[in-house]
């Protein structure tokens, strides 16, 4: 089971993503954007990690989405292979038309706008630990394959452009009806709130992650690889003192492994 961890100029989470891939028992390697795109077909799954590909020039993910490796990934996606875009990886998948999955650019991850009590209280880059609620049934999406609907986990975000907006008529309805909304920002009790600080970036319907109609492509703004081990957790989390325990982000990587096993 071999995973390609994509690396574009400006990607900065590829090494910890690869550590997480290997820690759940998958093989993997970093795949540079300028390698022959044809080599991608020999992999069983793909992670597009976070960072600032091409320095976010024009807008986040726009330049990387035009690279030949992304066309190759589109072809691999049609074979049902898992593709997980984290943060900037999510932005690249949206700009490439792989998410929401119609082949067109149907949405944008726009600049963060934090609203509280109806007023804008903050804009732009923000990093924090957030609570996520898993919204789909198990096995719906490759990156949350082993998660129960309604399960909660706390992982970090760090981005300036994670505010999901769309002018495509009925896209939100489709995402909800087809169970393509995988993660929503919530409070520690799992309640969805539309305002900051629960909704950390102003994203429509507090969406933190979506998948393709087939479920194999997942994009999420939070970083599971930064909460893979318990020792990565913040000081206020008691699990930090139990470093042998897995962190909450591990389930994303375990999900991908299980998805590949089931679909092999």
């Amino acid at each position: 089971m071999k995973i390609a961890v994509m690396q574009f100029p400006g990607t900065n989470c590829e090494h910890e993503t690869l550590v997480a891939v290997k820690a759940v028992g998958m093989d993997g390697e970093i795949f540079r954007w300028n390698r022959s795109a044809g080599e991608l077909s020999s992999f069983d799954g793909y992670f597009i990690p976070g960072g600032f590909s091409y320095q976010d020039r024009v807008r986040a993910g726009a330049i990387a989405s035009k690279e030949p490796v992304m066309q190759a990934l589109k072809e691999e996606a049609t074979k049902g292979k898992p593709i997980i875009g984290i943060c900037n990886g999510f932005q690249i998948l949206v700009e490439a038309g792989l998410l929401p999955g119609t082949g067109k650019i149907d949405m944008a991850l726009a600049q963060n706008v934090m609203v509280s009590n109806g007023k804008i209280v903050r804009r732009g880059y923000y990093c924090d630990w957030v609570n996520l609620r898993h919204e789909t049934p198990p096995r719906r999406c490759s990156g949350s394959f082993i998660m129960e609907r309604g399960s909660l986990f706390k992982i970090p975000i760090a981005h300036g452009e994670g505010n999901l907006v769309t002018s495509t008529p009925k896209l939100m309805e489709m995402l909800n009806d087809e169970e393509q909304v995988v993660f929503r920002y919530c409070d520690k009790n799992g309640r969805i709130k539309t305002e900051f600080p629960v909704n950390v970036n102003g994203s429509t319907e507090s969406i933190a992650g979506i998948c393709s109609p087939e479920g194999n492509v997942l994009g999420m703004m939070p970083h599971p690889e930064r909460a893979f081990f318990a020792w990565q957790l913040p000081a206020f989390d008691p699990r930090k003192q139990r470093p042998d325990e897995p962190g909450p982000g591990r389930r994303v990587f375990e999900s991908v492994k299980r998805y590949i096993e089931v679909n092999a």
């Binding site: 320095q55 020039r57 024009v58 690279e67 944008a108 732009g124 907006v165």
Partner: protein, 160 residues
Amino acid sequence: MSQKINLRVWLKIPDAEAATVKNTLVRRMGFGDVLYDVKKERLFSIEVDSGDPQELAKGFARELVNENKESYKVLIDELRFEEGYVPVWVALKIEDGEAISTQERLRGRLGFTSVVNVKRATIWKLYLSGMDRVAKAREIAEGLLINPHKDTYEILDSKP
């Protein structure tokens, strides 16, 4: 009566973002036979309700332009561009937090109380050859320069 001060700002040093856009358009998107250069400007359109616009413009430039690396041009109540390229105006159609912050900073901390509105845009200067330059510029804008769910664009002018 209000007046609009347009401040066109561009880098004197090489613009890496414009170079990346050109590279992507030529190497990845098939515009190599018609596109021979790309340049970029920032545009601030600042509406004021009183004061000498030329003097105000100098004050705005002191705050918004770093003359160590940037040059600028002021246009009052008009927006003209040079010949030889197709200017594509790109702006956010959702709320532009940076424009709001700029307006608040000019009015509040910096004391330009005559400022009533600030809009911000990017001008992409596409140096295109051939007869269908506007059509090509539209194709480039929609293919790379904007995401239609958050941005809007306009081809401002096209002189031969």
